[in-house]
Each structure stands twice: as C-alpha cells, then as structure tokens.
Symmetry: D5
Subunit: 96 residues, 10 copies
C-alpha cells in the first residue's frame, strides 16, 4: 500500500554541529535499510530545498506511522502524508 510522504527538514542554526552530523548519519543508515527492504520505495530531493518527496510501501497505516516515528531526524521534520493507490489507466502492474 503506497503513501506519498513529503518531509521538510529544519535544524536550528545554533544546534550542535557534531550532534547534527551524528543524527544525519543515523538517518542515512536507517533510510538505506528501508530502501533496500522496499519499504522506502522512492525518494527525491525537492530542488533548492532541504526537503524530499518519498513513496512508502507498507502493510498498513500503523506500519507507516511506526516507520516514520523511528526516523532519527523526525524531531526536526515537518511531514505531509498523502495516501495513494494504483491509477486505473496505468500499463504497469507494479506501479501500485
């Protein structure tokens, strides 16, 4: 089941740089695990912004919630969630 998740990241100007680097590294590792598993199906940068648009493939609303809440950068993020479904005109079986 697919969801579009739009994430804006905002780290305060005076936040400790070493701690920020540590959190970003943890975020990257967590992201890559989810991407390899197919849960985090797509990710793109929004040009010029510290933001991304992502497509998640999850079992349920609850699974999406738990996945997002575990993001190391979650406390610095604003989230917008849009539930998606397959488009009836699509010629791709997998483009759910």
């Amino acid at each position: 089941m697919l969801f579009m998740v739009e994430m804006d990241v905002n780290i305060p100007l005076d936040f400790d740089a070493a701690e920020a680097a540590r959190i970003k590294a943890a975020e990257k590792a967590y992201f890559q695990t989810l991407q390899a598993a197919g849960t985090w199906r797509h990710i793109w940068r929004k040009v010029g912004l510290y933001s991304n648009v992502s497509i998640f493939d999850v079992e349920s609303n609850a699974a999406l919630h738990d996945t997002l809440m575990a993001l190391p950068l979650y406390p610095f993020m604003t989230m917008k969630i849009t539930p998606l479904c397959r488009h009836p005109s699509s010629i791709h079986e997998d483009d759910r």
Copy 2:
C-alpha cells in the same frame, strides 16, 4: 530530469457527458503513449480525490511544458509543478 506534477481534475457538473467521455479516452491514450515511452515515469491516484501525483522524466523545462499543454484534459486541470533531483543517500542508480 525529473519533475513531480500534481494534477487536480474538475469537470463542470453540466458538461456534456459524451464529450467528457471522448476527452477522457483521448487522455488515456495519450497518457499510455507517454508512459510506454518512459516520459510519464510514475502515476498514482490520490485516495478519494479526482487527482493524481505523477513523476515526469524529460529533457528540459520546455519539453515538460509542451507535454503538459498537450493533455486533452488540460483545460479542466489545476497543476502544481515541483522540480526534483536525485537524493544523495539513495542506493539506486536509476532513482534520479
């Protein structure tokens, strides 16, 4: 080069039904040609809405403009365009 395009469709209540069906059929055929060519890379319905979120892969801004302007349903659509680029953490080479 990738762009997210969010399309909302709004056909007036009193629009001729046969003409609407003809335009939708033309839209579907045009869409499937672009999807087969890889230009219209992804499409998903927004749940509960007559709207979609799409990812286009085009050569240039001008190519995107010309592609969208040729949509048979264009006069009934509201568009939001967001330029995208590859996310640096992605493990997929092709997820531009």
Copy 3:
C-alpha cells in the same frame, strides 16, 4: 484500517430539486449499507454546516478510493482524507 474523511456538500442553487432529492435518497441507501457492513464506522454532522466527519474502516487505500468514488453525491463533494491509526494510550482494544 481507519481513515477520517471530511465531506463538504455543495449543490448549486439552480440544480433540479427532484434530481437532487433522488441523488440524496441514493446516497442515504448507499451510506446505510456501508454503515451496516461496518465500513462506514462513524458519521457525525458538523454543526451548522452541510458537512460531515466520518471514520471509514477499510482493507486498503484502494478500497477506500473505490468506496468514496461510488458515492452518489461525490460530484457535489469536496473531500479531505486523513489516515489514522490506533493511539498507544487507548484502553479500548477495538478503537483502532
């Protein structure tokens, strides 16, 4: 799986009254079938508005989309969809 759906109804002032009555009757019948089946789990009027807030219990995003698109009043509605999940503090097992 639960979703909050907020529906605003807007029937044009000059819409045929008999046709409107027919559509509302079809809407009521369809609604009551879904309510009896447990799909349309809750519905409340927003006070002073021709709007409701509803809780749907469905198998998937796609099931919600198909259910909403089949509403007889759908062409007269504006929809807002919010995916929900069980709250961790809840003492009720069923309040998913």
Copy 4:
C-alpha cells in the same frame, strides 16, 4: 454532546527530557481516566504526526473547556474544536 478535538503536540527540542516524560505520563493517566468515564469517547493518531483526532462527549461547552484546560500537555498543544451532532441518516441510535 459531541465535539471533535484535533490536537497537535509540539515539545521544544531543548525541553528537559525527564520533565517531558513526567508530563506525558500524567497526560496518559488523565486521558485514561476520561476514556474510562466515556468523556473522551474516541482517540486516533494521525499517521506520521504527533497529533490526534478525538471525540469528546460532554454536558456543555464549559465542561469541554475545563476538561481540555486540565490536560498536562495543554501548554504544548495547538487545538482545533468542531462541534458535532448526530447525522440524520445514521442507523445507530448511540452514534450521537
């Protein structure tokens, strides 16, 4: 008498963690007392957000105000209040 209350929680990044844990525990206890009494009739998490949708069943506007103002997390919350009433098409007597 029913009200929808949407609550967004925002605890500052630099707020003392032990104090936050204490307040959240107090919130949970207060919530469960109200839920057991039937005052806090429903609660759901909004997926991906530190937010909930709740349905309150109270005697009066004043009772709702006093109940909400006593929430331990109130100073960290943004609230949106929507008065509700029974939908005339509902087949459930109790779904006020």
Copy 5:
C-alpha cells in the same frame, strides 16, 4: 449554552429580485421570533459587509444545527461556528 456564528450572505447577481425579497422577509420574521425567544441572543452587522456576527443561546449542538438549517437564507450563506463559554473574570452572572 452560547455559540458565536458568523454568517456571510452572497446572493448571485442574476438571482430573481422578487424571490430574493421574499426570502429576506421570511429570514427577518424567523430571526425576530428567535430573537424574542432569547435563542438569537445578539446580532451585529460587520461594517461594510453583507455579514453578521451573532451569539446563539441553545440547549445543545443539535438544537443549534436545526435552528441554523431552518434559516430561509441558509442556501446563500457561508457559516463559521465557534463554541463559547463564560469567562472566569466576568463580573456579570448572566454573560454566559
């Protein structure tokens, strides 16, 4: 129990003038009955606008809904509803 109701009236330019006059007269009569009964406790014009701000005193959310839905001008109105309660600092017993 008190509610603030803000009403904006918008009658289309091409609406039949005699019919509009008839509806406004019915609105005025209905309003004065409610005002005399104490249900429509206050009404003020917003300066320069075809809008009012009103205070209703009703038994319940449902009573307010039924009262508003019966307004002859309701199909031409946009409504905003705000539940109110007595202010703790007020020196007037009756300013509920």
Copy 6:
C-alpha cells in the same frame, strides 16, 4: 460604537511564573474596571483555547486603540479587530 475584538494569548513556556501571575492579576483588575464601566461590554472564552471574543463600546477608534494598548497582557496577545454596527432587523434598541 461597537467593535468585536478577538484576543489570543500566548505566554512563552519559559516565562517566569510569578511574573505571569502578577500580569494576569493586573489584567483581571483592568478588565473588571472596563467591564463595570460598560466599555468592555461582553467577553466570552473560545472553548478549548486561551482566547476570547469581546465586544467593546467606545467613543472612537482612538479610544479603542488606547484601551487595548493599555492591557497588561497586550505584549502576549494577537488581536483581530472587526468594526460592528446595529443590525437593521434587531428588535432590541440597545443592541447597537
């Protein structure tokens, strides 16, 4: 001459509690003087919010400005001002 004034109060989480209590007490005293004088004609709490809707009866725009600027809580408030006048359908002479 009547004005609706909507006031939202926002005292920072880390503001000194004793100082806040002192300011609130000054606010209450100032409010009650104005209420007794008839200048602050009505006040109601917005349910669930640290906000009120008030009706002021003043000689002029300047008198309203001076009255509001002297509120002890003014630096913590967001204000919205709406000029009002008597509604032509009102049966009360005094409901200006």
Copy 7:
C-alpha cells in the same frame, strides 16, 4: 474618524456592457459627491488591478456602513475594512 477601505471590483465577463457603463457613471458621481464633502478623504488605484485603497472620514461605524452599502458598484465589490487612528509621532494635526 478614519477607516481604510480596500475595494476589489469584479464585473462578470458576460455582464451587459451598457448596464455596466451606467453603473460606473453612477459610481463616479456618488464618489465625487462624497469626495467633495470630505467623507471619501483619499482614493488611490492599486497599480495593475481593478482595485483601490481609500480613506474614509466618518462620524461612526454605522455611517461608514451606510455609505459603503449605497455604492452603485457594491454588488460587484469585495471589501476589506481597517479602522485607523492618528499616529502619535505625526507632526500634522489633521492627519487623523
């Protein structure tokens, strides 16, 4: 007593041209009478828009309401009203 009034004019594309011309001529005559009397103290066009920003000098809120409601173009206008008062730093006595 001064008020800023911002007026946006929107005459439908298919409105009768002769009737529009007649209404605009009546508007101009009414405006010039008020301007000569000092009631309509200032008027400026907003560049590129069919809109103006005006300063009215009136006895009361009610006088402003009656003046605006009598505008021949009123049914085609959207209004925004802002009450003003003299700035304490002004060196001009008359710039109320």
Copy 8:
C-alpha cells in the same frame, strides 16, 4: 510616485528595554524628518495593533527601498509594499 507601505512591528519580549527605547526615539526622529520633507506623506495607526499604514511619495522604486532600509526599526518590522497611482475619478489634482 506613491506607494502604500504596511508595517508591523514586533520587538521580542526579552529585548533590552533601554535599547528598544533608543531605537524608537531614532525611528521617531527619522520619521519626522521624512514627514516634514513630504516623503512620508501619510501615516496612520491600525487600531489595536502595533502596525501602521503609510503612504510614501518617492522618485523611484530604488528611493523607496533605500528609505525603508534606513528605518531604525527595520529589523523588527514585517513590510508589505503596494504601488499606487492616481485614481481617474478623483477631483483633487494632488491626490496622486
């Protein structure tokens, strides 16, 4: 050439009071020089707000920019700029 400039002032609660007083005094002196010169043609307080509406008369866009940037309170202000021109119906030659 005329411009409407709307200025909202927001000095943080914990800003040094003596420094604020010094800046406000400098602002007042600068304002009065510009008012005497005819550059700051009008100024009015928005009732109940720490905001003003002003009309500037300048040679060019660049002259307006330089004038505003030199305001001692500029770092505490939010600005909205609207270019104006003479209204064709005005009977005053000077009300540019």
Copy 9:
C-alpha cells in the same frame, strides 16, 4: 524602473473560440510592440501553467498601470505586481 508582473490567464471553458483567438492575436501584437520598445523587458512561461512572469521597465507607477490595463487579455487575467530595484551586488550596470 522595473516591476515584476506575474500573470495567470483563465479563459472560461465555454468562451467563444473564434473570439478567444482574436483576443490572443491582439495580445500578441500588443506584447511584441511593447517588447520591441523595451517596456516589456522580459517574459517567461511558468512551466505547465497558462501563466507568465514578466519584467516591465516603465517611467512610473501610472505608466505601468495604463500599460497593463490596455492588455487585450486583461479581463481574463489575475495579476500580481512586485516593485523591483537594482541589487547592490550586481556586476551589470544595466540590470536595474
């Protein structure tokens, strides 16, 4: 003196096609005259939209107003006007 003008064009679905073509041809001719004269200094399409962003170089606010009001497509346009000036860091003398 430079201004950014953002224009959105919206021709109703049922507007006469031949008349629309005539107006667009007149718009193009008028535009090219202004472009050749240097008044309409730049124009770009916003990708995917029937909108443009333009830079005008005019003598005064009034000259810009008169130029825009004379656009054949003006009655179908929504306009946003932003006054500009030369950036102090620019290395180009002419990039006013």
Copy 10:
C-alpha cells in the same frame, strides 16, 4: 534552462554581527562568480524587503540544486523555485 528563484533572507536579531558580515561577503563573492559565468542570469531586489528575485540558467535540476545549496547565506534563506521556459510570442531568441 531557466528557473526563477525567490530568496528571502532572515538573519536572527542576536546573530553575531562580525560572523554575519563574513557570510555576506562570501555570498557576494560567490554570487559575482556565478553572475560572471552566466549561471545567475538576473538578480533584482524586491523593494522594501531583504529578498530578491533571480533567474538562473543551468544545465539541469541537479545543477540548480547544487548551486543553491552552496550559497553561504543558504541556512538563513527561504526559497521558492519556479521552472520557466521561453514564451512562444517573444521576439528575442535568447530570452529563453
């Protein structure tokens, strides 16, 4: 390929002045390099604001993203990105 980029700069009131001056000097040098290279094709100040409108000419979305992310003032900026293309009516070959 052209993009409009609107940049709003907001440096906190209590940010170190020497550090701010250092960052602004780095920004100016970086800007002028890009301007000389033709990448930063145009820049204008928005009158009265610490904001600019810029036109970038880049090879791709990714090139724009990398260019903007390298701005020394980026952490203090809010960005809005609008993809552009040549207008079909333009008489200038180069006004892409």
